[in-house]
Amino acid sequence: MEKYLYIALFAPFVSSLFSALFTATPKKLFTGIIASLLIFTSLVSSTILLIYLFKGGEPIHVEMMTWMATGDLYIPFGFLVDQVSVTMMMVVTLVSTVVHVYAIGYMDHDKGFNRFFSWLSAFVFSMMILVMSDNYAGLFIGWEGVGLCSWGLIGFWFHKESASWAANEAFIMNRIADLGMLIGIFLIYWNTGTLQYDGAFAAFHTLDPTTLTWIGIFLFIGAMGKSAQFPLHTWLADAMEGPTPVSALIHAATMVTAGVYLVIRSNELYSLIPDVGLFIASLGTFVALFAASMALVNRDMKRIIAYSTLSQLGYMFAAAGLGAYWVALFHLMAHAFFKALLFLGAGNVMHAMHDELDPFKMGGLKKVMKWTWIMMTIASLALAGIFPFAGFFSKDTILEAAFADHHYVIYGVLLFTAGLTAFYSFRLVALIFHGEERYKLFGIHPHEAYRFMLVAMSPLLLFAIIAGVFQEPFFHMVEELLRAHEYHIHSHTTLWIMLLGTQIFVGLAILYAYKKYARSGIKVPDGTSATENSFIYKLLINQYYIPYFYEEYIIRPYRELSAVFWQKIDIKIVDATVDGIAGIIYSTGEKTRTMQSGNLSTMLKWMVVGLVVLLSLAVIFGVTVRYSDGAASALSGLGVM
């Protein structure tokens, strides 16, 4: 089985290197094809591993070679394929295969075609390292690696100022979180003496709760950055500057879920510190609502989906925080499928609309883009959690888990958010595909995407529809590792009321969205309507003024402080002190050189002055010594001797 592990891991790497060879050359179609094939190979290997594990095989643990070893520290390149990581591997390879194939079409006309595949495959490789590593340091490699690839891909169209800015923002924000993670890793090392999962997990039980709490907090800070949790969430929406396949793969399906994966992977830790868990759950719930609210009014197609991603990540954290790790993982998987699908659909729309992103400028596209319409509708249904689509199974379980654990506030908020989710998802669908064909005003001639792109998307469509059936087998597979237990609401009545109630609530939200946005006569908002001027609308459209706050109170002061440090402190104080000392010496020389007037008479006077000074000193000393023994001893004690 080990060779499949290595194939799964290194096929993307080979793909990346292969494509990298052609980065500086014009588009070569074969790079896309070969990259896709290699990723597919990885998918196949992952599938084989999945089947192996599913059949009850032992987790595979290999140690490729030593990475760092010094003092007591020993970090190998070790890889572990167990039920959790194989799930992630499946998600990653599957979505990325789809995205690779899709991107062949999507990036068709782009100059950086080859470069794109290089980055994309590099991302897959990093992600594989992240999920397959058997220790925290290896995880961190992947962690930073995906951050790097995310940077490269967000800023893929680097000629756009906004793209490169967003790339840097994403990287730096992630770095802030990475520091937390690094500190968490240090804490683990100095307290357990190892960074291997097995060793560390075993040692956690012996540590005192305070230390564990700190470890938990710092690791979670890491997770917060990667998964864009409040307050480090702003980068995710800005990251939509990248090409849409990137958004689908990285900023919806895989990378952003790495934080969730970290929490799930460290379940042994978090189950020991339920307080931190509760905090995570609360934050997740908050983010779910918070992000959904921003999605309500946004006028950027991709940002709406991004906020929905954020919201769904909140769900996952809520589940993970409450100890329902397997539910979180399952939702992660299901979400990956339908959200990637949604993004790819949005990509089709963008292609058709010549990169127009405002859904108010579209409308009625279902005629031209039938398949896309179907796919996006189904993905939205799945996202909204309508039976029998994937979202229903995963999301409802989270609600059940919250309810079963008697966290009714969390339950209530999540339920409400589910309604919002349904509303904004279908607001989007309605605005894009229904109603009048507003795009004609802008002289755009939309067309359906390439056939093979649609075919490529089909596996995702399939999984978005049927993923729910895997819930039971999945549960059984991961049960041992995640100490999972099924959530059962004790009363069937309650369960049914909840299910139906949720479905009806969500259904109503969908209908409302259709009613409001599928009608004809929608105008492109121009900032005059009453809604647009209401306080809440402004608050939401401005993302609660958080980016403004960051710009105004963090970035700008940092920039100004830097300038002050350089121009005032470094040049005016530190350097000026050094130069000042030299200057004083020099100017003293310059001033006192007049002593050397060149006049012989002055010179003679200096000599006499010297003599007289010496004599005065001699007399003072002599007289003192003669008349005072005390003074003599004091003088001799001056310490010159």
Binding site: I585, Y586, Q596, L604, M607, A618, V619, V625, R626, L638
Partner: protein
Amino acid sequence: MLSPINISMESLNLMTLAPMLIPVVGALLILVIDIVKGGLHKSLYVVLSLLFLVMDFVAIANASGIFMTNGTTLGVFDVMLIDGLAILAQFVIVGASMLFIPLAMTHKRFHEFSYPEFFALFLFMIAGFQFMVATDNLILVFVGLETSSLALYTLIAMHNRDKSFEAAVKYFTMGALAAGFFSFGAMIFYALTGSVEINKIALVLAANGYADIGFVLVGVAFFLAAFGFKLSLIPFHTWAPDVYEGASASMAGYMSIVPKIAAFVVAMRFFEFLVHSGIVWLDVVLYIVVVVTMTASNMWALVQTDVKRMLAYSSISHAGFVMAAILIGTTQANSALFLYWILFSFTNLGSFSMLWMSRQKHLPDHQSSDHSYDKFAGMIKTAPVAALIMGLFMLSLAGVPPFALFWGKLYMISSAVTGGYTILALIMALNSAIAGYYYLKLIVYMFMKEPVVANGGEVYVTNATLALKTIIGIAAMGTIFAFVAINPLLEFITAFVYNSGY
């Protein structure tokens, strides 16, 4: 009634006179040759002088052999005192003179070398210095000092241009005042102890426990002023920059070494017993003088625009640096003084010789003085070898290892450390850093600037002859490969200084 004087020739130890007599004989010979047949080429006199100096050197070496077996020797009614200090100092004096005299073989003609008297006076001067260091009798010190000084004034003036006369007059006048100080100081010690021999003075003072400390200090003050003049310690230094500038570069280099080592030896003989007797006053005063001399002259050197004048101030600074050895007063410090001075003489003579080699008769318009910094701008482009050698000397003077002077500084600072003068050691170290600036300035001009006026580089070797080049080569070799010689030198010097009781 007057009793007949019975003196055995053996007790006179006339051999102790040999090293001093050789240059005297040489000088007389030169005078006689000139009388018998005038108009002979200067090379004859150069070679003759060199010959006598070599003989002198051999005689000193012979004396050092005697010292190693018999220890300190007194001679000729105990006036002559041949101890380690005397021998070491004579080595430096004669050695430096041997390096100096070939510098007379310039390509251009300068006035002083057209006189046979120049060489005669030069040899007399050496004899004077030798007498000065080889005695502890203040009278002989005084007479020796004046002999050499008078000769030196003349040698400076014989360069025969306005600045050299001015320099000679200034030097002479201040020298006369210093002579007054010296005689007054000697008078006070004579009044105190009834003796003019340093050993006896020390004995008597110690015997009555420095009862008249006030008197002693007044005497010390006068001596300090007198030696301060010779050693160019601030504020008695004012002659030095002007005289160095006025004298020819070769003479200036010579002056920065030989008169000072002679004065150092006398100062060492005189102050060492005072320092050791625990007179706090002397410690404090010397401390101040040393620090002020090092620091202030460094500051003045910073602001000079003429290389020779800069080197003059730097020589003052070096003298102050070395004066610290007398303050510290340990065997290590005194050995360090000699080590430093030997290494210094190579480097400093070398750098002054470089100036000498580039001495023009007529200054071009852009050049304000003989050796202004501008003159050396862009030297690496036109005269790379000369520039490299000059740079080497500058680095050595700045104390950059492994060149000669670094080892001197190392040992000197180490002696301050072992002597317990921590702060002084730091000041000495930091002064080297300040000094680095002006040596660097010349390097900057030579290596990093463009020439002010394009020239073919011949200006830097305008005066070059084989003799000059040889001397510079020797100095350069001595500067670079000093590290090989440090150990034997150190052992030799330490043995001599230690066995002389210093």
